[in-house]
Amino acid sequence: MPGEIEQFLYHEAHLLDTQRFEEWLDLFTEDATYWVPLEQNQSDPVETSSIIHDDRTLLELRVKQARHPRAHARTPMARTVHQVGNVRLLGESDGELRVASTLVLVEFRAERQRVWGGLVEHRLRSAGATFRISHKRIDLVNSEGELDGIAILF
């Protein structure tokens, strides 16, 4: 179906924007990684810090934390709009599609609004009529900047 990759990415964004985090998690494969590098052009997630570097287990725990009644920075969760654009199919290897996109994200919480911009790469595996995410990398334009605490998912 034409545009099915785009539709999938929009669906993912919609789940985040409607705070359906558990359903969002289900989009990821069991061996998935979710990576928000700290440095520009970062190639190493092991000996260089990351804003987020989660395997599937940590990602699940991150969502659990957000649901905890005393998760102070996450109660309430920020409202967000994830605007996905410039979707490009980069290639296919090992049964995975590599998809690039851009993300513009508006976040609102506690009388403060922030705008984020990022370059995103997804690795997608076909799963019946849809996809599962095996890897998602978000390179924030301001990853090396002085940032207030981050309690959202990109």
Partner: protein, 438 residues
């Protein structure tokens, strides 16, 4: 600044309570920048950041933008990043290596010691321009590889200033085989809308984890247990720490908390490496222990690893954790705005996994999007907003007041682990700084 004479300031900081204006009055903040950050020794970084002549990085001393640079003679210089001509910052923020700092505005250039080297249109000036250099911090000193500077011409020596807190740096450095540490692995820079003191008052606070960190404690308890050797998870080190944050009250009360005359402080007894780092039975830790013992002998290695100074505060701008090799520097930006730079230190002669654990710890516990720090930041901001209340003037810092114990080594110990002695010590030296010469 006649409004803040000695009596007035002393009114604001009492033994068991502090007036909210100490955290929220912009006039007091201005005075702090002059009398605390303009006077005290401030930690700026580590010599591994300026290893070779010409290596430099930019940072701040209070609000002063500065350049830390390795001079040709091997010394470390600290230059105020402001052109002697018409004020432009001569060096873009960041790090690198350079022969000279060339101002982008009219091209005045300065050598690595800040001396004016050359300028275009020199004939436009009648006199000699020799004195026109970059202002240098008058005092720079290193302790165990950590770079400190003071903007004041005179004052206590660095060793006197650190006093018993030298032990915390010794612990940090001695743990590295060969004493070799380097700053690497990225820098988190997290900001919050709150006063700079809130961070320093948080890091020795054993009463807060059960509340502030309730959500990460709960989640860590549900996380997979740390794996046996060979099957560890990347995040085990962080899960251990988060679970430990949920230790019973009796554990927190039994922790040692010490303070020094210059407002420094540290927590001890809380973590041993078994509870925490990789577990004493772990082959990586055993290998590390062996590498340390190869340098200093088995008895000394045992002694070093037996030191359990956990969080240490070096007042007024630093906090570090020696077992995790995390160092944080707080930069005040405004009375209600601060930014904290978080550095990871690698032991150069230890198994690579030791540093990977440090990075994992930084990401999950101390990072800008981590599970632990984010809740601290949220609380700092709520505290700062609370200070806008005029109906309630005072903060209470009285837990354990009257039960402090003077130790033979000149430190003062809290009666229990959750004593607020560390805030009282910080406030006492704050008042000393603020009223010196007043």
């Amino acid at each position: 600044m006649g409004a803040f004479d000695r009596e007035r300031l002393a009114m604001l900081v009492q033994p068991d309570r502090v007036h909210r204006s100490v955290y929220s009055d912009p006039a007091i903040f201005e005075l702090e920048m002059e009398r605390v950050f303009g006077y005290a020794w401030l930690i700026l970084g580590h010599e591994s950041q300026v290893r070779h002549a010409g290596d430099y990085f930019t940072t701040r001393m209070g609000r002063e933008p500065v350049i830390v640079v390795r001079h040709d003679d091997g010394s470390v210089r600290v230059l105020v990043n402001r052109c002697a001509h018409r004020g432009s910052m001569v060096c873009a923020e960041g790090r690198g290596n350079t022969e000279r700092f060339v101002c982008p505005y009219h091209g005045w250039s300065y050598d690595r010691g800040g001396r004016l080297h050359a300028m275009p249109f020199e004939s436009g000036y009648a006199g000699k321009l020799g004195e026109l250099g970059l202002h240098a911090a008058p005092r720079v000193a290193l302790y165990r590889g950590f770079i400190f500077a003071s903007l004041a011409e005179s004052g206590p020596s660095l060793e006197d200033f650190l006093g018993p807190a030298c032990a915390s740096f010794d612990d940090l450095v001695d743990r590295a085989p060969g004493g070799e540490l380097e700053v690497t692995g990225g820098v988190f820079k997290h900001a919050y809308n709150g006063n700079w003191k809130l961070m320093l008052e948080n890091h020795l606070d054993g009463a807060h984890p059960a509340w502030v960190h309730a959500s990460s404690v709960a989640v860590a308890r549900g996380a997979p247990d740390p794996g046996p050797p060979g099957e560890e998870h990347y995040y085990d080190i962080a899960v251990r720490q988060m679970r430990q944050n949920g230790a019973p009250d009796a554990v927190w009360e039994a922790v040692g908390v010490w303070t020094t005359r210059f407002g420094h402080g540290y927590l001890g007894d809380y973590h041993n490496d078994d509870r925490l780092v990789v577990g004493l039975g772990n082959p990586v830790f055993a290998e590390y222990h062996r590498m340390l013992a190869a340098k200093v002998g088995e008895a000394e290695a045992k002694r070093i690893l037996g030191v359990t100074l956990w969080n240490s505060i070096i007042y007024p701008n630093c906090s570090f954790m020696s077992q995790f090799r995390q160092l944080r520097i707080v930069h005040p930006l405004a009375v209600d705005r601060s930014v904290v730079y978080t550095y990871s230190l690698r032991m150069k002669q230890a198994p690579p996994q030791m540093f990977r654990d440090t990075v994992a710890f930084a990401n999950v516990v101390n990072g800008t999007a981590s599970w632990v720090l984010t809740d601290d930041l949220e609380v700092y901001e709520r505290v700062q907003r609370g200070f806008s209340s005029g109906a309630v003037e005072w903060l209470n810092i009285g837990r354990g007041h009257g039960r402090d114990v003077d130790e033979p080594d000149g430190t003062r110990r809290g009666g229990t682990g959750t004593s607020e002695i560390y805030i009282r010590a910080q406030m006492r030296v704050w008042l000393d700084y603020m009223t010196a010469g007043a």
